[in-house]
Amino acid sequence: MIKDFNLDVDLVEQTETWYFSINSRDQKEHLYKKITGLLQREINKNQINKSIELSATSDAKPLITGSITSGSLKIRNKEMVFNPNKILRDNEPVLNTLRELKPMEWKMIVRARQTGRIIIKKGEKEKKTYFTYFSILIKLRLKGQRSFIEIGEGTVQSLKFNQDGLCSRLKKIHENHRHSKSHLFGDKVPVILNAGDGAIIFHELLGHALEADYIYHGQSPISREDIGKPIISKNVTLLTSDPNDNFFKGMSCDDEGETPGSAVLVENGVLLNLVADQVYKNRLNLGNCGHSRVEDFSKIPMPRMFALYLKPGDYHPNELIASTRYGVYASEFGDGKVFFDKGVFYFNIREAWLIQNGKLADPLGSIMVRGNILEVLNSVNMTANDFRFDKGTSYCFKNGQTVNVRVGQPTVKIDNLYVTREIND
């Protein structure tokens, strides 16, 4: 049964989104979206949540239960210049590359989003958080292919994207898929995840398994009793913040106004903390929370990650490839899914290469890796010294809500992964 617990928290939100796309048929879409609303939560023995859409944030004032010390509910977003003509000019190298490569179909999407939130807890001073995000996504479909391949970049700085990097990645993924060779991997093989975006696999496999709601409801392979015990390979240390990363710097607290006491989830394979919000911190009697997140005011917050970083090791990244007689090198990442009930997962790799005798060999195009969660986490064999953050396009989908997440890691070698072309099971 649930222990006595009281949480009264209001969240006022204003989000503006700008969108521009152009495709291979020269069709353009320019859209703007602004949502404003209030989420009120009253949690004791029962949980009552109320979402109300508003014309302006100031309309929330007569509705909120807590007190406003600053006397203002205004959310000041940054001045945004989102001009499709300028976007076309700035991204001309990418557009020219797409026209040169001539895939069957392509689309370039540029987005900007600003979210401002005020979190008001009864008896406490209100807190404000801001998140400004810019992204570019390029989708292309090659002749004979049924689905699109995607590459993208996201930043919290400005609408400027790395044109050289994007063009080179476009050419590389295009070549990889055009010349991809089908390869049958009979048994489990080592897979090397390149530095940066590859950490999304740790987010999916381990990060979600450490979320307190999954643990409380018995859906995770990890339990409350595992805290303080080794749960995975000693080569793995996982952190939830990094002073060198400014991705979430405007979010000084979570959507309940809390900040985590410790940034270490796992140290040398030993579980130290869970990913919790206040509700599950209370239910599981934990010391740490600060991981309550909600997509927008019309949904209910839940425990989930902001950032997850895998600490670097000592190897040079080339040593990981050189040590692999037969395996896969994964360089662009897609989405994946974890099945906690069966303890398994799959993950889509958008650009992969065969490794033979310690060297990169044939391009493999898109593949899927899958395996047993705990077995794979215990098979993190080598971690390199080349830590990188992701390219800013990592997202997390949980219970119908999508939020930006950040990941980072060095090049990592995992033994024991099945590699197929299949989708899921």
Binding site: M1, I2, D26, Q27, K28, E29, H30, L31, Y32, K33, K34, I35, T36, G37, K45, N46, Q47, I48, N49, K50, S51, I52, E53, L54, S55, A56, F82, N83, P84, N85, L88, G144, Q145, R146, S147, H217, Q219, S298, I300, D341, K342, R421, E422, I423, N424, D425
Partner: protein
Amino acid sequence: MIKTLQTLLDQGKKTGFSTVETFAETLEKHEYECFPDEPPSLHASDTRRVTVRAFWESGDPVGFSLSKPNPDSIKSAFSTIYTTHLPDEKENYGHLLPGDVKKTAVNIFDESFHTVDVHTFNDFIDGINEIMISSPFQGLKIQRIHLAKTLKKIYIANTNNLNVKYRKTNFNLILSFTLGVNRMDISENRVFFRQFEPFKIISRGFNLLNSLTEAGVSAGKQMALILSPEASAFILREFSQYFKISADKEIMNIHYPSILNLVDNPVMDDQVGSVPFDDEGVQSGEKYLIRKGVFSSVISDIASAFQNKARSTGNGTRNDRSLFPAAEFSNLYIKSTVLSLKNLMADAGEGVLVSLLKLKAIENSGYLFSAYGYRFSSDELLEPVHFYFRTSFRSYFLKILKISKEIKFFYSSANIGSPYILLEARKQADNLFEI
């Protein structure tokens, strides 16, 4: 809301756009959720959002969406999208937005909506718990119950003089079951609360979870397959993209078995996919996509129809994540016949009744499905089995032998329905078949 729409149209014209369309949606939603031994959590939400699509004389339209707009936010939003006009001389489809729509009576509103509350929910849970205790669903456990009721009001107006509205109710029930190590969420959507049949939902959960086995199937060169309505609807959802206007035209020249009739019908009473007109204000009615085995039409919204020099079929749909409509099905289904499931089983003699499908791979040659079901002999269901089969759109529809009369609908972005389908599969390799 009517006044707000008029303000939007007037401001759009005043800003300099030649044609303006507004789409407003108000949602009153109440969600109840509970886990075993926990009191329910409640979430009430009231959202009011307006979406605008604005056209210049030429070039692609632009758009915006606002929460509960007021004159200031409307003016500011129009100016945000107007000042960044991209020079573009190509013809657009603003003139094709409808100026009028006939009123069609569709039964999609539950008068008892406001009486369904937390007490109804608690009674409903009691009923489910009673069935779980008193019925022989051995090992089946419920982990979570989630019930949502939604009252949606839609308003559409444009500067071509259209001004229409309708309201619709939806009840969504999700039961999370476990059986052994397997877990599954069963989700059902209904227009009326009274349409829920807890015993049938629990049976569906048990049947699906119980079929999850690793045991393969032994068969000769041929094997009769009966796809359950749920399995058939799953395939239909995968193949439905071929019935959109932009799809490959080659498959349209093939003659499929004459018993096959595939229909999209937005004006069916009591169905969750029903609407009196689409999200662009275009009216639609029953459309045969395949009639007696012959391809007869595809669906479109105004933009995709315009690109293909055709007329919209009234399937323009706006979803949460995109502001502009795209073509989507309303109630898409395979028409039933007079035969019963028992007739199909008797005709087949023996084979496999497939309960559940999962998509394993989309290859250039077709689709690979993972199938779970029960072996049957005459009209008796035997042990659960699992196998794989490959098929393509063309091959699948060509191999349909018989269709039953028992039709069921399953909702996910569109409402898709099917009776039981009898097909013949050919063995390709151990536990791998081809349709």
